[in-house]
Amino acid sequence: MNKLDSVKNLDACIKCSACTSQCPVAMVQPLFSGPKSVGPDAERFRLEGIDIDPKCLSYCSNCKTCEVTCPSGVKITEIILRAREKASLAAQKSGTTRLQVRDLVLGRAEYLGRLGTIWPGLTNGLLKVYLVRVLMEKILGISRRAPLPPYQAKFKGIRNNKLVPNHRLSKAVVFFPGCFINYNDSLTGQAVIKVLEHNGYDVIMPNFHCCGVPLQANGKFNEARGNAKKNLALMNPYLQSGVPVITGCTSCGLALKEEYPNLEVSGSELIGRQAYDLFEFLWELQEGGGLKQDFQEIPVSLGYHAPCHLKAQGIGTPSVRLLRLIPGVRVSDLDTGCCGLSGSYGYKQEKYDIARQIGEPLFQRVQEGVRIGEFQSMATECGGCQVQIEHGSGIATKHPVWVFMQAYGLSPEFL
């Protein structure tokens, strides 16, 4: 957005406070004055060179509920993130080393993942040692209570990463797995590939980097743009041939659709149009009559949680639509707000309790649903939400692609 557009967008705010009334953080944390106040209100002063309480900016969890809520289309989260970028540049000299190191660590899920997946058994063993978590909290400010997901062997993608010949690119897709699948959940990555292959698609998986969302959330805006450019360079030849890019993670998906088109490099003009959430893609196949319908009947009842960054994509909940096509599957869309984790937000020592409180209504709803037999387990696309819902409610939570694996007869059972 150029400067004039930004100001126009700012002026679209009619101060109705609808965003603050729906903000998950403002609901539980009085120190956060809410998206309207920290975003459009304070922005007017920032434009005049006056920074009002820049500390308050760090409470925003980047869930984008405010932007989804706003009836006037104001880019509230974007205003807050940009202000945070400016504030973090100014504070870099004065910030405490401890928090700077933490921003480095949490922003780089990718490097951590690479380290962690060299010897996952050892890493996971270490992360389970209470003393290690206490030290991490003391040294890095990473909450000892937060649910760090265990590492798995790194996702290898397609066995021999075969080259798809040009004439077959019309039935090919690029898969952007994201850090969670890459380092913590490679089996789900395999499942996504199997479901796409079952529908007749060749899956291409270049060696992508982290999408950049965790970097951005931890104040590393330049690094985030650097990652995005590297990824776009890897996608570009396929984008030019019209090959869609599929994401299994809703935050990566949102970045590809919302952030990548703003970069001034080749491919950025195409990525918004060609990026798809996995189920958005499968739903388009279904609407065009191209989705394989050889579903076996499976008696599964699920609670579904829509991740905030899926809601922000403005595509509805295609996974729920598709799950309901499978005979025997029952889905309750819980719609009980944000899980609270918001990527790396809930891992921070001082944010753990906020994250927990934000997610509490959801956890209670999940437990209640299981208790009364409304559903047996949970499904949600986002890896962070999965970890947080299991942590908060104790109920198993998986990516919905596993239901398709089972219905297509590609895996013995879901859970």
């Binding site: 989804v68 009836p71 289309g73 919302e258 403005g314 595509i315 909940t317 719609d335």
Partner: protein, 397 residues
């Protein structure tokens, strides 16, 4: 392919969606933001239904008594927490403490007990935003001259962080707190602290408390020796927020899908039929097809009609709205003709050409604030028109 797509997720759109989904239809609601319900008090105004049913072109007249009555009754079956009757007005307190007429109301707002009591205790939580205890007290004294009004200021530990920050406690902060388990425990303490006031002879008014759709709060209150009356609040307000949540949850439980945050960019028509809408999703457009479309985009305030100095434009289908000759009235709080701006329809709520009365789109229904020839401020029938037209459209999907 959906059976019905509803554009707009406010009261009318959600009610249409619920009714259609309940009838087994596959329904998608596309809403640009969360709708205006959080700005409202959660009270449903029906207006003087009998008079309005005889007012030429009014939506009530178009739909007829059966529809208006059935819609109100349907809403109450969905939400038994709502009291009232389309023929008998209820009274609620405004945020400034005066009683006003209303249609269907959350039961906690019912002011009946105030007319019969000789003592009113007005609870005044310290630091509450947009609540003016002295103003409310004087308005109550005017409205209920038989009663004395005792102001009872109190402080709650849970809001210490607010007091320390010097931050006002909004009505929504309060409302949410009283609904939590610890809030309910605190509330029991607050009731106990009233013992010295002989509360069993009094009626307690409690701004910031919203018991609608909260079973635990209702249980706590049912055991009290006195009546507790809630107040409506300035926007954004809890009453409207919980009504919105309640409607969304009903809709989703019936299998409906709600897409919030993206508007409709354009529509595809074949002759007098719409078959597809194109939604402005992130990165690219999404297409959704349906048999029937319902337009519930909320008039001028909701962004469904855009008004410039030259013209008024309906934003989704490009329908020609009815535009009154003089738009405004110099008396600020007087009747404003522009309020009657909207899309004219036949009695099936299909858009028509004003001059020829010819139906413009056969599978499109116009509901709620998008309808022409009514004024929610003067006629006080905003909730009623939304319910009646929403229910009717839900029947037609």
């Amino acid at each position: 392919m959906w059976d019905g797509i509803i554009i707009g997720g406010g009261l009318a759109g959600l009610l249409a969606g619920i009714r259609a989904a309940e009838r087994g239809k596959k329904v998608l609601i596309v809403s640009e933001g969360v709708g205006s319900l959080t700005y409202s008090s959660g009270v449903i105004d029906l207006g003087d239904a009998e008079r309005l049913m005889n007012q030429k072109s009014h939506p009530y007249a178009l739909l007829g008594e059966r529809v208006v009555r059935s819609a109100a009754e349907y809403f109450q079956t969905l939400f038994p927490d709502y009291w009232g009757n389309w023929r008998e007005p209820q009274f609620v307190l405004t945020p400034l403490g005066s009683p006003r007429k209303a249609g269907l109301i959350p039961r906690g707002l019912n002011t009946q007990a105030l007319s019969e009591t000789h003592k009113i205790i007005l609870m005044a939580l310290e630091g509450m935003k947009d609540f003016f205890p002295e103003v409310a007290k004087s308005n109550l004294l005017k409205a209920y001259p038989q009663a004395e009004v005792v102001l009872h200021p109190f402080r709650v530990e849970a809001f210490e962080a607010w007091y320390t920050l010097g931050k006002p406690i909004t009505g929504m902060d309060c409302g949410k707190y009283w609904r939590t388990a610890s809030g309910i425990e605190t509330l029991k303490g607050v009731w106990k602290s009233l013992d010295s006031f002989e509360p069993d002879k009094a009626v307690v008014i409690f701004p910031g408390l919203t018991s609608v759709f909260s079973q635990p709060l209702r249980e706590v209150q049912s055991n009290l020796p006195f009546s507790v009356i809630e107040m409506t609040a300035f926007p954004p307000s809890d009453g409207g927020y919980y009504l919105y949540r309640g409607l969304v949850q009903k809709f989703k439980a019936l299998g409906g899908e709600l897409l919030v945050g993206s508007g409709v960019k354009k529509v595809e028509l074949k002759g007098k039929q719409c078959h597809k809408i194109i939604v402005n999703s992130k990165g690219k457009d999404s297409e959704f097809s349906a048999r029937v479309f319902v337009l519930a985009t909320g008039g001028i305030f909701g962004g469904g009609i855009e008004v410039t100095l030259e013209a008024a434009k309906e934003m989704v289908f490009g329908l020609p709205p009815f535009v009154p000759s003089g738009w405004t009235n110099s008396e600020f709080l007087g009747e404003q003709p522009y309020a009657r701006m909207g899309v004219e329809t036949d009695n099936q709520l299909r858009p028509i050409d004003s001059a020829s009365k010819e139906v413009l789109l056969e599978n499109v229904r116009i509901i709620g604030r998008m309808l022409a020839h009514w004024d929610p401020w003067v006629e006080r029938c905003g909730g009623g028109v939304s319910l009646a037209s929403g229910w009717f459209a839900g029947e037609q999907v």
